[in-house]
């Protein structure tokens, strides 16, 4: 296995084909998708989300702006993160928290452009029947949402990397394995299952509200 091999989340063994497709998309492979991945995504919200993120990422990287090896670095960072193991599993929670604060900060920072435009907009509200905007409203909202999702994930990843880089990982003395604790694996799996209905419903609720902002006929990918 190399660092560029697709990483399959052990918790999602059925997602391998879709994850490999996303990897090919990031690699710039024009034939990145395959029927198996398409069929899987139709039923898997996680994989649809990952594809949307990858698309947003690739769309935002115009050729001159992409530093050499950026994709390698992104993939490399993802591989490194995936291999850091369970010790930092819960660092994601804190990172997500930080990310949401950060996104809020960015969201409420008015751009220079909007500051100068504001009085004009306020003084001259659009009358009904005015010229249509450059971009359909649904599309603009959809774009803002996708950009926000990408930004949140990027912020979470960078915050986590910064935090992890500062946390020492001391080597503890080797201890004999007393055994018996493997019995906890079933309970651990059940703990995850017990909150699954809430997680699934929360995801569906979010999709229900956000999907409404999509233009007509756009696939329900969040």
């Amino acid at each position: 296995m190399t660092d560029r091999d697709p990483i399959t989340d052990p918790a999602r063994p059925d997602c391998e084909a879709a994850q490999a497709a996303v990897q090919r998309l990031l690699d710039g492979d024009p034939l990145w998708d395959c029927p198996e991945a398409v069929a899987h995504r139709a039923a898997c919200v996680d994989c649809r989300e990952e594809l949307a993120l990858a698309r947003a990422l690739t769309a935002s990287m115009t050729a001159p702006a992409v530093p050499a090896g950026l994709t390698d670095r992104i993939v490399g960072a993802a591989v490194t993160r995936a291999r850091r193991g369970q010790a930092f599993r819960y660092a994601g929670l804190g990172a997500a928290l930080a990310a949401s604060i950060v996104v809020a900060v960015i969201a409420v920072q008015p751009s220079r452009q909007s500051i100068t435009e504001t009085p004009t907009v306020a003084a001259l509200p659009h009358p009904k029947g005015d010229a249509p905007p450059a971009k359909p409203l649904g599309e603009a909202v959809s774009e803002a949402r996708d950009a926000l999702v990408s930004l949140t994930r990027r912020t979470a990843a960078e915050t986590r990397d910064t935090s992890v880089a500062l946390v020492p990982n001391p080597k503890l003395p080797d201890m004999p394995d007393p055994g018996g604790l493997e019995s906890l694996a079933d309970a651990q799996g059940a703990a995850s299952r017990s909150v699954e209905p809430i997680k699934t419903s929360a995801r569906r609720a979010l999709n229900l509200f956000l999907r409404a902002a999509d233009p007509a006929n756009k696939p329900a990918v969040q």
Binding site: P136, V141, F209
Partner: protein, 562 residues
């Protein structure tokens, strides 16, 4: 019409807190069998007070955020957001104050088991400026019609029962429905749901809506943003889960179902005054919980006297009251009997070298419930950059406590000697501090300067520390646990970290880089990213707010005093 854009914009901006009036006018419309209900209130007041917050300012000035603001995603978001507002003909202030400033509610009902697609949702908005609301709605309809996103809008019904059907352009796209009545707007993809609230829409709330009452019970009544979860909406799922699996998987799910039945309400919430807080609140009927759990939470809901021994400027402190006996019984309830036995056998095997008794209940009873760990900056006169650290666990009085004390000291001694076997030059030494015997480890190169891990039994506590000197400074508390409105669990002092890093940044970075095998320069850059955030922050705290049939955990970011 695209009222969901307004909803999205609300999520994107810093959320609110509110007058009960407009909020309750909306909450009375939420169906009782909701699954999730998101309540945003008082965005206007909260938004106006948040501009100069030093912590948010610190974050905004962090190199990390400055870098993120230049990313394609951030630029794209900002451009799209600006374009939306421009197209709608509203300013950011109008959006925050006149449209979203009163209250915004999202309610979601999940579909029945096996028919998840039969879900529905409701968006409710109370705008201060009803003319602006109507204008924006008209503008959205106009824009979308011209852009071909919708075919048009059809009125349905008359008078107060009148609403509109938005017909989508796509042949397979289902229509959605909305109505605007005065200051209120209601939007839903479900015609039946929208029709069901129409009779109550024009009226102000009379009495307290059930969700508002639940918010009070959860202690989130004034939270500017909260997400309420209706546990009853998941009863069927939890009951079905309890029948699935086998062995410990089934045992866990059955035990979980027992707990779930006792939960009356759940909420996540955000407060911004006087400090930024993120929390989780649970309404639970304690009488319906298994006895060990009730005992565990009763003990955990008291303030430990160890907090009296922790300096305000500790870099890190975490203290809890852990009733080990009830904790063990609680955790044991989640395992099937054969697995519980296996775990106990594993513990017995691991503890055999130092535990003389097979009666673990004795040790569990003898240890705790006060347990704390804290880290402080080295003394000003110290030449070492290595912080001082203490881990202290209370030992009960009586035979159980003596047995637990003996087991702990033997175990620690065993670990120390085992470590000395694995590392050349690692020595186990001891010294007397009055009547207290302190054992500690030394190594000429492995440990940071001044670090000599030590342990002892002192004043009814088992104490582990970074050095014998730190144990010498530890004064065991003599008081008892007390009831409190707010029980601290964890505290990180940003101001102490600022001072510590200003003094010891160089050697700390060198040590961490050596320990992690990284580049000191790169590690220093990571620290520099965090420094502006620390500038605006005084402390971060995790606290528990116990209440009658309620427990709430709150993460609080206390801003630096100006």
């Amino acid at each position: 019409m695209r009222l969901r854009q307004l909803a999205l914009a609300a999520v994107l901006t810093v959320p609110p807190a509110a007058f009960a009036g407009p909020r309750d006018d909306l909450l009375q419309l939420v169906p009782d069998d909701y699954t999730f209900c998101v309540v945003l209130q008082n965005l206007r007041e909260q938004g106006q007070s948040g501009g100069g917050r030093s912590f948010l300012k610190g974050i905004a000035e962090s190199p990390l955020i400055k870098g993120l603001q230049a990313t394609p995603e951030a630029r794209k978001f900002q451009q799209a957001f600006d374009a939306i507002l421009k197209d709608l003909g509203v300013t950011p202030d109008q959006l925050r104050d006149d449209l979203l400033g009163d209250a915004l509610v999202f309610a979601y009902r999940k579909g029945p088991a096996g028919q998840e697609g039969k879900e529905d949702g409701l968006i409710l908005l109370h705008a201060r400026d009803e003319k602006l609301l109507q204008r924006v709605v008209d503008r959205i309809i106009d824009m979308q019609t011209k852009a071909g996103e919708i075919k048009g809008v059809e009125p349905v019904g008359q008078g107060d029962a009148r609403y509109f059907r938005r017909v989508k352009s796509g042949d397979t796209e289902p229509a959605d429905f909305y109505t605007v009545q005065g200051h209120r707007l209601a939007f839903s993809g479900s015609e039946a749901l929208l029709k069901s609230i129409l009779p109550r829409l024009p009226a102000a709330a009379t009495g307290e809506p059930p969700i508002a009452r639940r918010m009070k019970l959860l202690g989130v009544n004034d939270a500017p943003a909260s997400v309420l979860i209706n546990p009853r909406s998941f009863d069927a799922d939890v009951a079905a889960g309890a029948q699935a699996g086998k062995g410990s998987e089934q045992a866990f799910l059955k035990e979980f179902a027992t707990y779930w039945k006792a939960v009356d309400g759940l909420a996540g919430f955000v407060n911004v005054r006087p400090s930024l807080e993120l929390g989780l609140a649970i309404n639970v009927r304690k009488a319906d919980l298994p006895k060990p759990v009730a005992r565990f939470f009763t003990e955990a809901g008291k303030r430990s006297p160890l907090w009296d021994r922790i300096p305000d400027d500790a870099l890190f402190a975490c203290v809890g009251r852990i009733h080990f006996e009830s904790l063990a019984a609680t955790l044991g309830g989640f395992l099937a009997e054969p697995d519980r036995k296996k775990v106990l056998e594993g513990i017995a095997k691991a503890s055999r070298p130092f535990l003389e008794t097979d009666d673990y209940a004795t040790v569990a009873r003898g240890l705790g419930p006060d347990v704390g760990f804290w880290v402080t900056a080295p003394e000003p006169e110290s030449k070492s950059w290595c912080p001082n650290a203490v881990l202290a666990a209370k030992v009960a009085e009586g035979p159980d406590g003596r047995e637990a004390e003996r087991a702990c000291l033997k175990g620690l001694d065993f670990l120390a000697r085992m470590a000395s076997l694995q590392h050349d030059d690692l020595r186990v030494r001891s010294e007397l501090q009055g009547p207290v015997e302190v054992r500690y480890l030394t190594h000429p190169t492995v440990f940071p300067p001044g670090f000599r891990p030590a342990f002892a039994s002192k004043g009814g506590y088992i104490v582990l520390a970074d050095s014998p000197e730190t144990i010498g400074r530890f004064q065991p508390p003599t008081g008892s646990a007390t009831d409190a409105d707010e029980v601290p669990i964890l505290r990180i002092s940003a101001s102490a970290w600022r001072k510590y890093l200003a003094r010891h940044r160089g050697p700390l970075v060198e040590y961490l880089a050596g320990a992690k095998g990284g580049d000191p320069k790169e590690l220093g850059q990571h620290l520099d990213v965090l420094m502006p955030v620390l500038e605006g922050l005084d402390r971060l705290e995790l606290v528990q707010r116990p209440g009658p049939n309620r427990v709430a955990f709150v993460l609080r970011l206390q801003e630096a005093k100006k």
